[in-house]
Amino acid sequence: MTGFGGYAGRILRIDLTRNTVEMQDTSDLLPDWYGGRAMAAKIAFDLIRPGTGAFSPENPLMMFTGPLTGTSAPFSGRTTVCGLSAQGYPHEWYTRSSFGGHWGPALKHSGFDGLVITGRAPHPVSIRIDQGRCTLEDASSLWGLGIYETQKRFMDSPGWRVLAIGPAGENLCRIAIIATETESASGQGGFGAVMGSKNLKAIAVRGTLPLPVYDPEKFGKVCDLVRAEAHGSHGWPHEPKLDPHRVRMFGQKFQACTQGCAVRCYDARFYTSVPSVLSPGRKLSGQMDCVAGLFPGIPNSGYGWKLGFEAGFEVGQIANDQGLNHWEILIGMVPWLRSLKADGSLNEADGAPIDVDDPVFWQHLLMGISRREGRVRNALAEGTVRASHELGIGGESLDRLFPAWGYAGHWDGHGDHINYVFYPYWIVSALQWAIDARDPISSAHGYAQNIMGWSGICSPVHGLSWERIMEVSARVYGTTDAADPRSGYEAKAVAAAWHGNRSVMKDSLTVGDQVFPRIYSNRTEDNYARAGDMEGPTFERHMFNALTGIGWTDAELDAASARVLSLERRLLMRNFGRCRADDESVIPYFQRPENLVNPYIGHPMSLDPHAFRAQLSELYALRGWDDQGKPLS
């Protein structure tokens, strides 16, 4: 055991080339590398030599839980995946992705905080971990199966939680996911292809072993308070409702996208019975979360294809089952194909006319990508950015949709048209994009999404005034400038630094990004989130301390999280030559006019490179990095 509560105490190190399983004590990493992403960063820095690529057998594919994972801490069911990424561009940078469902808690209760998987099996294998026992099994009979059927093959008795890849991962599609259940996936990063390159089809876990709690009474009380306080799903302060028509027609219901979720979410719905459009007579069931809500098409949004609900649901399930990244398809690839069709540079994909209103085209597209069939779809299996270069088409559209590093836009105010964010808030997004190696928003929704969500723009009835948002945010950022809609570049580096650390914290503890950090509330007089005598942004630290006994202050937990970002940065610099010029390569993207106009300004804004560079320098300084972005310690 580690001497701290919350940890299982061991990490499994599996070498698929040598067919060996070894244990590492988690206590080797504690308390500094306190969970999930932090532990993975330390292991990666020590293990990954320069010259290693995403598909090198030496690339460690890591799945890590954190101390809070699966405990009575609310929203704590998540697992963080780390390693060199297949999707990363222009380099297969080290990065992370995370998924929900119920797999991570089962891994911990099976006796392990995380897995480090290296090597390449000579034939398809799966890993089975049952109450502390780990075995490698032949998976030749599973190779080629979809993610749903693969999971079902392990679920002959209750309690098994399965993580799997589909044909897309097997065929090394750089936009392949690793998934569990029907809609929980490590989506961005192309880690499905990394898993496929190791000939690893699935990881099944089952466990009910006990985990110690440092102060059970206090931990239970803190968790109860935090669970009761949480509201809204991500800044939208009112409770979402089911659609009576879809309840009646399709069995719509709320479904947690991660264990421990304690809110009714805007984004997560399960459907028990949706008629198939592509195979009439069949009924489909599954979850539809988050960006998958775009599959049906949304008029006048930039995603205005006309599949309709049933076909959109079915196409989304095909992507899940084949193991393809929803974000890439919906925010990047299909809008890119639409623009190519519109300007006449690409009219058909491997014999099928590009018709995004036709579910048959989507099926042809997705099935062909996952199987790498045909010239166009085989190129798209490399991800849209690489496909554009390979096919020699669509460069202008690519520059409009993909901010950096091979990932489509996300809360950036320019390429992503579904999330409403205007100047000056996307300056923080731009800073986050600049220093990351992937789309940074996955665990950093807490700035732009929270501010916009709580504002009258997105919540005209239940939202807060701008003045109140500024007052509350000043408690977090130390200045009203960080969230003032009339502000410019000032204090944006402060917000970017703060949320960067919180991103690490969420990926390390682990807790859900759509709820934490708790900042705004409509349950307190001053609209600052509180529970008992705890302030909202300290909830994670209170739960962490009561569970583990590590006893850090807010500043210590923040510093430990910042240390992770610096170590990840040092890894990128050492192995890939990452430098300030790379970071500044995001500038042209943000120099385009924004999508949504700030009502205080009245005309579309774009990035001022000079002011942005000053904020980037300030962000480096806040991180303890030099002016070239190199960590000083």
């Binding site: 119920h102 209760h109 009910t208 709690v213 059970p216 459907y271 069931s285």
Partner: protein
């Protein structure tokens, strides 16, 4: 209080398992799902999760199966509770429960079942979606609307129990 029981409507269940982890922590101190006296069989592909929980039956099979008389009703809460000092660990109660709501706790080598947390069930407080409620069987909402009669019996603990 002696008349209040757990009432489960699985339809709004989101599969969050908060009821399970909170019960386990309350019973074991440690975080230990094996200590929980409620279980949810998740149905990730069909969305119809199934709850294994004690009805505190009017005619409890667990007590009838217990040769050592270790299971009796707490007259304050109305819960059927196990007296661990009398239990001979035969496991007959686990086999006898028609609702699969008596669990075996490996670490203690003892059966565990819901004791209604001495009258304030933690799972009820932890459930944010109204799946698990604590009601009198006479309450009009106890057997929720649309529930088949056979399941109403089960909900009331009157079925095979």
């Amino acid at each position: 209080m002696a008349n209040l029981r757990l009432c489960v409507n699985p339809v709004p269940c989101t599969g969050c398992l908060n009821c399970v982890v909170v019960c386990a922590q309350n019973r074991a101190g440690d975080h230990f799902p094996g200590a929980s006296a409620i279980s949810v069989l998740l149905d990730p592909f069909g969305g119809e999760h199934r709850h294994l929980y004690c009805r505190q039956c009017e005619k409890p099979s667990c007590a009838a199966a217990c040769a050592s008389g270790a299971i009796s009703r707490n007259l304050v809460t109305g819960a059927m509770v196990i007296d661990e000092t009398l239990c001979v660990r035969c496991g007959e109660c686990v086999s006898a429960c028609p609702f699969r709501a008596v669990f075996w706790r490996d670490d203690l080598d003892l059966p565990v079942k819901c004791d209604l947390c001495s009258g304030a069930p933690r799972c009820v407080a932890a459930c944010r979606f109204g799946v698990i409620r604590f009601l009198s069987p006479d309450h009009p909402g106890f057997a929720f609307r649309g529930m088949p009669e056979s399941e109403q019996d089960a909900q009331l603990g009157r079925g095979e129990g």
